[in-house]
Symmetry: D2
Subunit: 407 residues, 4 copies
């Protein structure tokens, strides 16, 4: 019996062929499937893997773990990549990697294999996570092995190989793009999307509906404690959701109806390429928007700026696969400290295509309605502002003294 490999198995054509190829190479292969909320018939996939020759198939339901330990912290930290992408796939990778490593250790597998391509981010995310959690692990990434990628130069090579080896192939014709789905989002890339001018067709979007009719605005109260979502109150139905999984599911459903959270972007991959991605993250977008509102409302101005710097760094770490790293650990702790005072509620309004905050309240609010009022002076002495401006202008006037009013 050969060395044990734990394969991150999807049930699809690629990893089915990889499974067979690993078996041919003499490995014993255990398949691992993580349920992070994608639509998938796991039992069909299990049967398929066993049929191909997997010695075991482990299926883990990681949905709750994913929401509580990855999505929730990401919302709290306010992570967003290159101003737009909420990191749905990037967050799932370390979550799945923990599952992979746990099973690999439990089953005594020294190898982990995956079907991520050699140009993408996911290979980096899986492997950096695996090395950090299981430093002695060895990785098999067939799409980076010359023998493999020379043999399988396109989809037809995979289909032929499947046919030859009795690997069942889905009858549904493949969409001309690839997709990755989980409870937070669906991403679409490659195929016809590789031309950045090609407009994604309406039927691409699986998670949100195409807007075709007018929907009256819909309002929600979203509550946070120390930066984490704790309760969603639907102001139309009066229903309340407090379980993290229930919250994200409800917001996905609502956000879907309102076509919220679609982006179409070109992003910078860690390996140095630019790639085009289309994403849908309805519930995540609603939570991100509400949290952002409460945060700026709650935090001291300068703390907020420090936090923003750290958040930018953390977003890059997560995108690049460094969720488990000394720098991410440090940044996460700092960001957590920053959120100790971010508690309260935000009222958001969904209209087709967008969500925005329209009201908010904080448990401990630095917002001082009386102080800011134009009609009240309180302890604020307006004449102080004269000195404030005058001293602030000193540097400018000194600049003019030397260089003239030449800006």
């Amino acid at each position: 019996m050969g060395e044990k490999v734990l394969l991150a198995y999807s049930g699809g054509l690629d990893t089915s062929c990889i499974l067979k190829w690993l078996l041919d190479k003499g490995y014993e292969v255990i398949c691992f499937m993580a349920d992070v909320g994608q639509e998938e018939d796991f039992e069909v996939a299990r049967a398929k893997a066993l049929k191909i020759g997997a010695s075991d198939v482990i299926i883990k339901d990681l949905k709750e773990d994913f929401v509580k330990n990855y999505i929730w912290p990401s919302i709290r930290m306010g992570l967003i990549y290159e101003e737009r992408y909420l990191l749905g796939t990037s967050l799932a990778r370390p979550c799945i990697s923990v599952g992979l490593v746990e099973v690999a250790k439990a089953k005594g597998a020294r190898y982990i294999a995956h079907g991520a391509t050699g140009k993408g981010n996911d290979q980096v995310r899986f492997e950096l996570s695996a090395y950090a959690l299981y430093p002695e692990v060895k990785i098999i990434a067939p799409w980076r092995i010359e023998e493999f990628y020379r043999r399988f130069q396109g989809r037809s090579d995979l289909l032929n190989y499947a046919k030859e080896n009795g690997i069942p192939v889905s009858a549904t014709p493949k969409a001309p793009w690839s997709m990755d789905a989980n409870i937070m989002h669906i991403s679409y890339e490659s195929g016809i999307l590789e031309d950045p001018l090609t407009i994604a067709p309406d039927n691409l979007y699986q998670m949100t509906v195409n807007p075709t009719t007018f929907k009256p605005p819909h309002r929600l109260n979203i509550y946070f404690e120390k930066g984490l979502p704790t309760l969603v109150e639907d102001l139309q139905t009066r229903a309340k959701y407090s379980n993290p999984l229930a919250i994200i599911e409800h917001l996905n459903k609502l956000g879907s109806l309102f076509s919220i959270g679609r982006i179409d972007i070109v992003e910078n991959r860690f390996v140095g390429l630019k790639s085009r991605g289309v994403y849908e993250a309805p519930g995540g977008t609603i939570l991100f928007t509400a949290h952002q509102d409460l945060e700026i409302f709650s935090l001291d101005r300068e703390v907020y700026r420090l936090k923003t710097f750290l958040r930018e760094k953390m977003s890059d770490y997560v995108y690049n696969g460094f969720w488990f790293s000394p720098e991410a650990k440090f940044t996460r702790k700092c960001l957590e400290i920053s959120q100790e005072t971010v508690s309260g509620k935000v009222t958001v309004e969904l209209i087709t295509g967008s969500v925005r905050a329209i009201g908010r309240e904080a448990s401990n609010s630095l917002y001082n309605q009386e102080l800011v009022s134009m009609d009240v002076h309180g302890n604020y002495s307006p004449s102080d502002a004269s000195g404030f401006i005058s001293i602030n202008s000193l540097r400018l006037r000194e600049h003019c003294r030397v260089y003239g009013s030449n800006f």
Copy 2:
């Protein structure tokens, strides 16, 4: 005849009372009005000022200057304050200040007066600009002068004073909030908006319509050269707009129909207060979105990150009133250099409530469709990624060696 004061005059109750009060103090007062695109009957205002006693009224049409020298550079720099506010008022202030200073110098006025409050940002923006451009100027800010603000403790004191002094008062009842409008945006604040939980009523919005019916998506091509918008092509009407003023006006009109660019936020003022503002910036939001897309598409990843840092700084400078400052001058130059390669077009789609990029093309594109394709290797050797990941994991594995896999 007293010292000459140039008063930034709005035609409204406040600055009309200030005009009279300055006259009472013995100053000769010239009024200055800047047309930055707000709805205003300037000739009615002129007559009013002259009637109250202004020795002259200067009205400058700054719309084109505002668009070309403030809005356009801001779009190019990607300025946005605290993640959401496109700085419509902040950008208008230095533009108006240049007008004020030019007229003050031409008329030999050593004093500039304004009606901005003592708790706000505008006082700072006007005065820092004025000091930078006219270092020997003296500022009169009545709302910071104890005698003045003790006398006028509320609107009724102003109304009484107006009545006593024959100052005409608008018959339209005042909205329970204040607003500031220009060609880029309208801002609303104070009054009932001071309670951050109060939801802004539908009739507040003047620049964008409330969504009540379904509108089919509307597409535009927006072209940029070196980061500046140069052409807008309406893909529905096939109309083209290349004059900056025409571009912003068309985008405002379209954006208005689609209710684009509304935000409701609490922001951090320079003086240390938090304040609530509601803003509408339909055209600016469309341009910002398109530019952001093209920029990330065009720029090298690391240059983009440097640019983003500088953009954050510049946004704070502009918000805080430092448009004319050594740091803004330096940052502007750097950001301009960053934009030398940001040329191309972006297709955007407007749906009710939102605008997003859906396609793009750059004159010189770092995007390499062939290289990124999953089906082509080209010069990319996938096995290199193994070394890349391995070396990147070295730091993580060293961390684990010492501290364990404890992240």
Copy 3:
């Protein structure tokens, strides 16, 4: 009896005149003196204040507090202003302010007065600290009160006033500069130093000796735990010092002999002026150097970079008077977390004019002697570096593809 004022009293001419002036104004004045390690006959000063009319004189020995709660944390955080200044005065101000506020509250004084000038940093540091700790306090800063500064336009006015009011004046002629001393440093400024080309005379330096003879190198081991100095071992004398006060005193003595820690700089004040300062901080410089060495040795590369960013921010906060502020509180916590692994020892060598690290050892070291050795491969596969470089060059080659090799 008038309102109670607590005066930060130095025993010198300025604050003695201020004391008398406050009494003339009808205040009851309590004097407060903080012993932060400056050379001062506190009892003579007490007698002088009582003679002038102070109702009480409170002298607090804050040396230990200053070392443990301000200098030690500053070393741990690595604070340095504008690359050179170790913040000796800036750190003392919040320490003294805590003393002032405690006494003011205990004595029921609603006013705090100080003799800091209206152009300097110290006024800001005292007052921001006081407002943060005692928000309802009122500050009297005579050097900012027109009546006061018009009356006392120069030293001779103070001398005359002293004479008229029987205030004893030191017989020693005043040096043509001012100085501020504490256990961490002495700063010198103003007077002849105001010309930035004037070279500070040898007799200015009070804390370090002028180098005139050769001294053989002197070595020390300095131990840190979680970033704080815990033990100094003098490798010449074998003496050990573990009490913070004893450590700084010994290092000051040694550093003094080796003329270590002198700087002559022009710095940027918070109020917008540039000012010239000459500083001596012998012991602080030794500790800073040792800590810096251990820190870069101990910390993960990316954590170190984050830490450096935060340290820069914190240095500005402290210099500008924001030791007690939300942003400093947050930053301090983050920096503390970063130091959890900074434990070990550093061997430093003192030679005339400088100190440098020459050896180091960490409790938990990310330094891997075997791994870095040119003669050992261990788990490091050199061929991985090829892939690492190749992938890193991808962005550069893409740039060349579009723009040519034009850098």
Copy 4:
């Protein structure tokens, strides 16, 4: 005849063996030597290479290029890595790479080979530079080729190979460390230095003398224009130096006598390792110190802070090998703009072990002696500072209102 390889040849044992090994592999090998100021008998090396079998040996005197186009810009930008290292080797690498690429192109060589190790930074610096300047180049790095490094596992294997192949070997016994020298510095690493606790022996230092006698202080005026050194005036000898090469040579000589510019550090390599290095950079340290002083003296406070951020980034780019990269190109331009006003002179004093600025003067100075003087008010109104402090404290007082004086 085989493919042409251009080998970066040093004349030492490693690259001589590589030369022979490449010949054995069937390549035609041209040797390239760059004179960047290291002590080397180039003609002896030429003869040796030809004797081993090189088809040609090209020796380029790059000293002037190195000083003007790498060291001078680095001084202007203020580059320093991890707070201490002036980047002497990092700067030489791109300079040498330009030479390599020019010769490779001229000679029609498609391959460049070098003797840098597989764990170090130099491999990255050479190769990234080469790829940026000559994207189609192929690199041969024998120390990363398994066949090569398995064969040559230590120095004795190299010595045996040399003996077998008639390669002359220096009779001088090798120091138990390696060194890299150029006109800016000497670096020492590996061997006995790999233990970070081992103190470098006195006889290691080749560029600066060990301090053994007292030397009276020595003063210099150093002049800069737009950030670049233009003139050094020796205040002892009255000699003047204006040619860049003459300046650095004189400062190296002087700095050497005063043992200036020695550091002993552990640094973070790009590949993720920590390594220990000892460096001497006497002239560079003097120039860095003088420039730093003039810069902070000359620049607006906020521009200086932006500049510092960019300088930190650039230091990392240069250390990591990205001298020729889009980000370095952009940063260099920005830093150049920042230096437009950095002109003037600095008086520095050398004493044994250190250099410091003691006086300075700028062509256009933002330093305002009159304004900063404690005895003059000028246009500065001290009472403005009250408003300035009061407004700055607002945020702190608001924090206390909500959270108490708990910092």
